[in-house]
């Protein structure tokens, strides 16, 4: 009995330093988030019970609708493009080619680079009037060069391009790990049958990478739902509301309008989106394994 107690106490002493911090600064606020969504508070005046009012407001909030749709559009654009490019890059960097490790490291640079720094470069390169991209397009004879981040029809595309560029290297590494898990005998069998590279890719690589692709899909989708920084740096949600996304709307509602309860209600919508994806992942994993 005493020994059992001692064993437990030792174990708790290992967990305590992390758990106390985690419980206070993460777990507590998460529980609070669910309560806050039912309150009305500006951070200064007395807190009022709002019941379901905050959630009813969602339906009449045109900015919420816009930001919801924009988040979906951003996700629908970023996820497939990132997946295709990171997979192709991983396949290439899995070949026996000269300088392979160098290229692997290099392709990871955009991911670790400071967003503020690379976003400002991006904005300069894609500057509609003076940037080298549009200069090049003009030299090639394109007359109506795109306005990129400054044009409401191009802004979302510009942000998506930037996100693909920034995150490609990270998912490349995950794909690379997946590729290295494929049994080489499968390819040897393919060689014996005289199968060409493309067929090998289609009939061996892709199916074998199923679980990895699924994992990348889920991670990327969740990451896209909570996008904020990229948007803030490149378009500030504009022009107009053309790149306003959910987290941008949460930030503005909370820290500019100080409408804390309502901000938490919007945040719960984000939570439901992520939860849905997580449930799909859970089901999918069961199916795949």
């Amino acid at each position: 009995m005493q020994k059992e107690l001692k064993k437990n106490l030792i174990a708790y002493s290992f967990i305590a330093p992390n758990f106390i911090g985690f419980a206070v600064f993460t777990f507590g606020p998460i529980l609070f988030a669910f309560i806050l969504a039912f309150l009305s508070w500006d951070g200064a005046n007395p807190i009022m019970w709002a019941g379901l009012d905050n959630f009813k407001r969602l339906f009449n909030d045109s900015q919420f609708k816009t930001s919801f749709v924009n988040t979906i559009v951003y996700t629908a654009g970023t996820v497939p493009l990132t997946m295709i490019f990171s997979l192709l890059l991983a396949v290439v960097l899995n070949q026996k080619i000269a300088g392979r490790n160098f290229f692997r490291t290099l392709s990871f640079f955009p991911y670790v680079a400071s967003l503020v720094a690379v976003a400002v470069v991006w904005n300069m390169i894609f500057n509609p009037s003076m940037g080298p991209v549009n200069m090049l397009l003009r030299n090639m004879g394109v007359e109506n060069t795109p306005g990129w981040a400054a044009d409401k029809n191009w802004a979302m595309f510009t942000v998506i391009l930037f996100s693909v560029w920034k995150n490609m290297g990270y998912y490349m590494i995950i794909y690379l790990a997946g590729l290295q898990g494929i049994n080489p005998e499968l390819y040897e069998a393919g060689d014996l049958d005289g199968v060409n590279g493309w067929q090998k890719f289609k009939h061996i690589t892709l199916p074998q990478l199923g679980p990895t692709s699924f994992f990348v899909l889920i991670m990327l989708t969740i990451q896209c739902f909570k996008v904020y920084d990229q948007i803030y740096m490149i378009t500030q949600g504009g022009p107009g509301t053309s790149t306003l996304v959910l987290v941008y709307h949460i930030y503005n509602t909370a820290f500019i309008s100080w409408d804390l309860g309502y901000a938490s209600a919007i945040a719960l919508v984000l939570f439901v989106l992520v939860l849905a994806i997580t449930v799909i992942q859970f089901r999918g994993e069961k199916k795949l394994s």
Partner: protein, 279 residues
């Protein structure tokens, strides 16, 4: 037939190299532009065709940034927060992970489930209540707030636990037989073994803290407390047309992350694969 396959293989190979070449160019160009523009006069930044190597490199830019903005102060603030967060994260995560991986105790599964349940929870969902709480603790506009926010993550515990699970239990059993305490086993056996996992966690934590934007933007409003990302952003907004200076400051901000990444990257690929991030 055989010749045909060879020809096909060659074509595939060329296509792969072309793709690789294009990707490398796209990856590197923004960095090259940054470096090149950081050594130019503002009026020369946008000359077209791009002059990649400036005729007279303007090193002055790299001197001016330290006086135009309190860049040294920003870097010091960020370095302080990043080092403390990374240290706390490594110690407390590997400590807790040891218990979850190698010890049996009451409520183990429930506690671990508590961690797992929050891994997928975006910080953006609870950043507002967290801010209210921090304000009640009088922690807004302190570096302590940034440290508390980032030092104790479910991700760190999970990553370390996954690694420790792959270490054979017999190793710990044998040490216990020799009369080693659990603390000694952790510090003497587990920590030295877990270099790849610790390196992976170091890169993730270092990069995330160094590059964090939204957190400091919410919590640190006083200039002397700001981190480098917020400081750089402030500079960009204030001096929007001083391209040369902005680029020089950007290069300076990138350097620490690149050094940490390059010195630990050997472990990194291995770490991502072995830590079970694949799912």
């Amino acid at each position: 037939m055989n010749q045909l396959t060879h020809k096909n293989a060659a074509v595939t190979r060329i296509a792969l190299y072309l793709f690789l070449f294009a990707t490398v160019v796209i990856t590197v160009l923004p960095f090259a532009w940054m470096l090149s523009a950081s050594l130019k006069l503002d009026k020369d930044v946008f000359t077209f065709p791009v002059r990649w190597i400036p005729e007279e490199p303007r090193w002055q830019n790299y001197e001016d940034i330290w006086t135009k903005i309190p860049l040294g102060r920003f870097i010091f603030n960020t370095a302080k927060i990043t080092v403390i967060v990374t240290f706390l994260q490594l110690v407390t995560s590997s400590f807790a992970a040891y218990a979850f991986a190698k010890l049996d105790f009451k409520f183990k599964n429930q506690l671990f489930l508590g961690y797992i349940a929050t891994i997928a929870m975006p910080w953006q969902v609870y950043m507002v209540p967290q801010f209210i709480m921090m304000r009640n603790f009088n922690l807004t506009n302190t570096h302590m707030s940034m440290i508390c926010l980032q030092a104790f993550t479910a991700f760190g515990v999970f990553l370390m636990r996954q690694f420790y699970m792959s270490v054979p239990d017999e190793l710990c059993e044998a040490a216990r037989m020799d009369g080693m305490s659990e603390y000694r086993i952790w510090s003497g056996i587990m920590l030295p073994l877990s270099k790849p996992a610790l390196s992976t966690l170091t890169i993730f934590t270092f990069v995330a803290t160094w590059n964090d934007f939204l957190g400091p933007m919410i919590y640190l409003t006083r200039t002397e407390l700001k981190t480098i990302q917020i400081g750089l952003r402030m500079f960009i907004t204030q001096y929007s047309s001083e391209y040369g200076l902005i680029m020089a400051a950007s290069v300076v901000v990138l350097i620490p992350v690149i050094i940490v990444f390059l010195s630990l990257q050997k472990f990194f690929v291995q770490g991502i694969a072995s830590a079970g991030l694949k799912g």
